[in-house]
Amino acid sequence: MQIKLEHLEKKFGDATAVQDLSLTIENGKLLTLLGPSGCGKSTVLNMISGILAATSGRIWFDDKDVTGVPPEKRNVGLVFQNYALYPHMTALENICFPLEIKRVPKKQRIERARELAELIRISDLLDRKPLQMSGGQQQRVAIARALAKEPQVFLMDEPLSNLDAKLRVEMREEILRIQRASKVTTVFVTHDQEEALSISDSVVVLKNGVFQQQATARTLYDEPENYFVADFLGTPPINKLFGVMKNGCFCFKDSDLCCELPLRHPVEDGKETVLAVRPESILLSVAQQKLPCVVDERYSVGKDELAILNIAGQTMRGFVNPEYPISTGDKLECGFKQRGIFLFDKKTGERLS
């Protein structure tokens, strides 16, 4: 089932939660909606499931317009953020419930539920009620319930946000495996960039209900289309260096230090810009550019060594080779790799280089 959103819009009173969103999710693919809390991810998901009515725009499942179809007729499976398992039913009854509604005979229902439980590895939990299960177990049951009726569309709203870090990674892989096995078109919502990057075929970044960019995880990281996307992805966050354009070069703010960059198109002098540099794109030893900087501090985070560098009065974080002999106070020359360095218009966020 291919899902297509056309100029989808949702208003709550005067507030616009989702604005002019158009995208296509190909049959059998997993798409992630990524964005900070409150950017309208759940709203989009709830419009796809039919829980919320769109203010305007259309939703297509293949060539069927489902915009006005109520949720009970859309045949979507939805995993709620807090699972919403029925507390008075056992795991088995929860999984069987959508089948019961479909009037599947009891024997077949249970058979199918057991199959799913096998796939999702909860066979030993089927007699428990939701309150007797951990978050991770509840989540699996919720997934099984959503998949039980063989939905045309599988929707998950931040299903991993209630789990601890280790379980989250495990479940992430699990979900990926289940999705690959069931081949159902899936929309996965998260505010966690790492989760989005590791799970999906394609990621859509949203900001305040407005579409930012759709791409593969890799492309999103390597080629962000605007400042927001560049800033939202990556840990530690991308370095932001402020400056203005002079003769087609980026010049650091309040300094005559400039560096040349391959511009996408000519930019007028005096435009305020932001140079965004990934921490791994800072070169300390053999750099093309020779930009003088001072080491403010050096520290390690787990396996990585980081240095805080002062360049023309601004600071940036960069990874350093653990063997590289620099320490606080050292003056040296640095430069940037070709990859992971972007120039943005400060006002519009448009990418210039």
Partner: protein, 308 residues
């Protein structure tokens, strides 16, 4: 409690002080209530219990013999047996009807229905009005010649019923009136129960494909079961003590032909009208045990119904 004991190490001064406080603080807070309870409930109850074994008890304190004769007399008194039967029928009809009606009304009130404000005021009405005053109004509603109820029945081609003066219909009239007066309290409790159900379950059920009827019976009702159990138990206890309701409808008589005795009316009759204190006490104790058994049964069922 147990946990606290495990956590606190034995013997330290601080701990001993805490323990002392942990005992005296609740006692101090509870004392006024406990004194009231002992003075006005426990002590009288014990007295009534003892009294129920004394034959021909006089207020002077004299009595002829001690034993089970009062119980034997009460249990063979046709008025008492009639009262037992009427009370049983009354409970059997009033409580389920009131519960089901309340469920529907509370469900409607829980949804955004039209005229919600009007409804909310009107279902509360029986609660804030005096049972006797309203009873008199109902007496008019039940009036054979001019009553609204007979008028409504006539619209459906049903001939007038002599609700209050034909003994065959006395119990029905009492039940109708009592269901009405039981509604507000039940609705309020059920409404609280309805509002405690997380609306996300309804959303989930809709996504699962369920329509509203299915959602009501498979999701709402089971989640409401503990509340329904609670209202049933409270209503059963109060219905077993039916008495006040008789006065306005039948001019203080137990039905138009003295045929609508209830257990409490019998008790009242023995005590105030006939001064048979021992028999009154015995019937009180019998009623007490009936209510106790009902309560225990209900608690058991309720525990089973508490399903998550």
């Amino acid at each position: 409690m147990k946990r606290k004991n495990e956590l606190v190490k034995e013997g330290s001064l601080v701990e001993r002080a805490t323990k002392t406080r942990a005992f005296f603080e609740p006692v101090a807070f509870l004392a006024p209530f406990m004194v009231g309870l002992i003075l006005f409930t426990v002590y009288p109850f014990i007295n009534v219990f003892i009294l129920s074994f004394k034959q021909n008890y006089k207020l002077s304190g004299a009595f002829s013999s001690f034993g089970l004769k009062n119980y034997a007399d009460v249990l063979s008194d046709p008025n008492f047996l009639n009262g037992l039967k009427n009370t049983g029928l009354y409970v059997l009809f009033v409580v389920p009807i009131a519960t089901v009606l309340s469920l529907f009304i509370a469900n409607a009130l829980n949804h955004d229905i039209k005229l919600k404000a009007v409804f909310q005021t009107s279902y509360f009405l029986p609660m804030v009005t005096s049972i006797t005053a309203v009873g008199l109004v109902w007496k008019w509603l039940f009036n054979y010649d001019y009553g609204l109820i007979n008028y409504l029945l006539s619209l459906f081609g049903i001939s007038a019923i002599n609700w209050l003066n034909n003994p065959a219909y006395n119990l029905s009239a009492l039940i109708i009136y009592s269901v009405w007066s039981m509604l507000p309290f039940t609705i309020i409790l059920l409404l609280a129960g309805f509002q405690n159900v997380d609306p996300q379950y309804y959303t989930a059920a809709r996504v699962d494909g369920a329509k509203s009827g299915k959602i009501f019976f498979r999701i709402t009702l089971p989640l409401l079961a503990p509340t329904i159990g609670l209202t049933t138990i409270i209503n059963m206890i109060s219905a077993s003590k039916v008495f006040t309701e008789l006065f306005p409808l039948f001019n203080g008589k137990p039905g138009s032909a003295y045929s609508l005795y209830t257990v409490v009316y019998y008790l009242y009759d023995m005590f105030y009208a006939q001064w048979k204190l021992g028999k009154a006490a015995a019937s009180a104790i019998i009623l007490f045990f009936i209510v106790l058994i009902l309560t225990l049964l209900q608690l058991r069922i309720q525990r089973k119904w508490k399903n998550y």
